[in-house]
């Protein structure tokens, strides 16, 4: 056994551990979704759960995203804690009624009399020539809708801690991860712990520019920061990780310090998540403390293509981030 705090675990197994420990320690927890008993469908995030906790608490489902999701909401309304997983967020589009119309509004519509402790765990795919209907991400929309919390971990530590926090939260939480993250490995404590929803984190301190990112692109942003350091630009890198509620203070104070900001957001640009960050900075006096135009790095305004030659230019590379930052210093 590794000593506490020193054990390495990958992202997928960190989720698996969060689920295992929560199912183990709290008998009101249930997991529902397509593929939870499949040998390949949700990576190894659900390994051994059905064997261990039985078919009444861990439920693989037909291809019925709408009722599956609504049932998870109903499980929560009935006093249990539900996690519902969709192996691709695109499939959850069928289930936007229970997510948007029902769960998000529920506590408010009931005058505060009924809570919905449900986790909508939606997995984002990118690449693999899977094309437009298997590569979308709706972070901005989920964040837009009042009543939903939204988290997007980038590390194995946060994957476990945010999943546990999401399960324990009384509100519906959208947990967005990406398959590209499943191999990311870092220190993950063996015990149950929460990463607080609503708190971002500075992943790298710097003085010249703030890179704001989340999920897979955090790692690209960190790499970009290393490259930039070699070119004399000392970048601070923030991992938002809680998309809503957002840790506004962390962002504002960093950008106040550096005076420059690039938001690195792996989703579409127009009305996207990064535009909220820019607007927030401006509303908080950006006009006084910004030394350069605040920039957004996003996907192009297009559906995801299949062919690798197009995927290569569609997805965001470290180079794009580096060049974007450098453009702030060139004039």
């Amino acid at each position: 056994m590794s000593s506490p705090g020193k054990r390495k675990l990958n992202f997928a197994l960190a989720i698996n551990e969060a689920l295992t420990q929560m199912l183990e320690s709290d008998e009101s927890v249930m997991l529902i979704g397509q593929g939870v008993k499949s040998p390949w469908y949700v990576g190894n995030t659900c390994k051994n759960l059905i064997e261990r906790f039985g078919e009444k608490r861990v439920i693989d489902t037909p291809v019925s995203e709408n009722v599956t999701t609504g049932a998870a909401v109903g499980v929560a309304i009935a006093g249990m804690k539900a996690i519902v997983v969709h192996p691709r967020v695109d499939f959850a589009v069928y289930a936007f009624d229970p997510i948007i119309n029902q769960a998000a509004n529920w506590f408010f519509m009931s005058g505060g009399r009924s809570t919905v402790p449900v986790v909508f765990w939606l997995i984002v795919n990118r690449g693999g020539e899977q094309a437009a209907q298997h590569s979308q991400s709706f972070h901005a929309f989920f964040s837009h809708v009042p009543g939903l919390k939204v988290v997007a971990p980038a590390t194995a530590y946060d994957a476990k801690g945010l999943m546990i926090a999401a399960i324990n939260d009384k509100n519906p939480v959208v947990f967005l991860d990406e398959r590209w993250l499943y191999g990311v490995e870092d220190n993950v404590p063996e015990e149950i712990y929460e990463v607080p929803i609503g708190k971002g984190i500075v992943r790298r301190e710097g003085t010249d520019v703030t890179l704001i990112s989340f999920s897979w692109l955090l790692h690209q942003s960190l790499k970009a920061a290393e490259q930039l350091a070699q070119q004399g630009i000392n970048a601070e890198v923030i991992d938002i990780r809680s998309l809503k509620p957002l840790d506004e203070e962390l962002i504002i104070s960093s950008v106040k310090k550096t005076g420059r900001v690039v938001v690195v957001d792996g989703t579409w640009k127009f009305c996207g998540y990064s535009s909220e960050i820019i607007s927030l900075i401006m509303e908080n006096g950006g006009i006084d403390f910004l030394k350069a135009t605040p920039l957004r790095v996003n996907l192009p305004d297009a559906p995801a293509p299949a062919s690798e030659s197009l995927e290569k230019v569609y997805y965001i590379s470290t180079d794009t981030i580096v060049n974007s930052v450098k453009s702030l210093f060139s004039k």
């Binding site: 608490r57 609504g70 909401v73 029902q102 009931s110």
Partner: protein, 326 residues
């Protein structure tokens, strides 16, 4: 089946209370004291009363835009409902929801909201929680014939059947979905046929006869409670009022939908009046007793209106109170 007069009187009272409540809303709607959209349940009382008489407080129900009857029959507080219809802070959803949003978790009224078919999956989930906890609760999902247009219903039927969930799907077929007669939205008027196609215990039943409703509900509840899986019931009924508010949607009027002859025919099948006659004939009820009950109920209803009228609307500075639970 033999019924105790206690049960018969309970059913009568339950239906009558709904009817008198619904009709008490007509005037305040017409004079605009009530402004949120109200969908009256008048004419369908036998369904709510007959089903809920078979449920315990712990059992769950979920409803839709036309759910005053379900809420009341299941034990929801009258005052809080009326206050909600006036959108007052003392309402059951604190004025946040209005008539189409009722709740009373202590009494198993778990959720009533207006997206058509929106609560069917929630009810299915509640039944799934019961199965996991093995708590012997039954869930009931109330919805209209209109909701059979929504795909989620079929997903739910299949889902419930696979996991043998203790849920009763209650379709109140009142022949209309807003302005659309059932012939325009299905090739036939045999909704119940969808039950067996998914492997559910299925019934088709007159919805205006409370005793028939009661019987079929009893069988369904026993089936669910016994762990034998879900049930589907289609009740044939009619709303005596039009789609929204007191307007009758009579052909030739502005809301030109239903033939007068059809309305008249169904008035003769009025579930409350007919059951009253039956009880009078059977001497279980006397004219005097009936009048006394009505008086009592009318007083209770008037009190509820008074309570609502005296209550204040939610304070503006509490707008953001219930966005997130803490």
């Amino acid at each position: 089946m033999k019924y105790s007069s206690q049960l018969l009187m309970k059913l009568y009272r339950s239906m009558l209370r709904i009817r008198l409540t619904e009709e008490s809303l007509v005037e305040p709607i017409q004079n605009r004291t009530i402004n949120c959209p109200v969908h009256l349940y008048s004419g369908q009382e036998a369904v709510a009363a007959g089903i809920c008489a078979n449920l315990s407080k712990k059992d769950y129900i979920f409803g839709n835009h036309r759910s005053h009857g379900h809420y009341l029959a299941k034990g929801g507080d009258l005052k809080e409902m009326i206050a909600e219809i006036y959108c007052k802070e003392t309402g059951c959803t604190k004025g946040r929801g209005g008539s189409m949003h009722l709740i009373s978790p202590e009494n198993g009224v778990m959720g009533i909201v207006p997206i058509v078919a929106g609560t069917i999956s929630l009810a299915t989930g509640a039944a799934m929680a019961s199965r996991t906890r093995n708590d012997k609760r039954v869930s009931v999902s109330f919805f209209g014939d209109g909701a059979t247009g929504e795909g989620v219903l079929y997903e739910a039927l299949n889902f419930a059947a696979i996991y043998k969930l203790p849920i009763i799907f209650v379709c109140e077929n009142n022949l209309y979905s807003t302005h659309m007669p059932i012939e325009d939205i299905r090739t036939d008027n045999h909704i119940a046929e969808i039950g067996p196609a998914f492997g559910l215990k299925t019934f088709r039943c007159e919805g205006n006869n409370v005793l028939k409703v009661y019987e079929v509900a009893k069988k369904s509840v026993e089936h669910c409670r016994g762990g034998k899986g879900p049930a589907f019931i289609e009740f044939l009924t009619y709303r005596l009022r039009g789609h929204v508010g007191p307007d009758d949607n009579i052909q030739g009027s502005h809301t030109d939908i239903r033939p007068l002859s059809e309305i008249s025919k169904w008035k003769r099948k009025d579930p409350v009046l007919n059951f009253e006659s039956y009880l009078l004939k059977k001497k279980i009820l006397s004219e005097k007793k009936a009048a006394a009950i009505k008086d009592e109920l009318n007083r209770e209803i008037k009190d509820a209106h008074d309570f609502a009228l005296k209550s204040s609307r939610p304070p503006a500075d509490e707008l953001l109170n219930y966005v997130f639970a803490r």
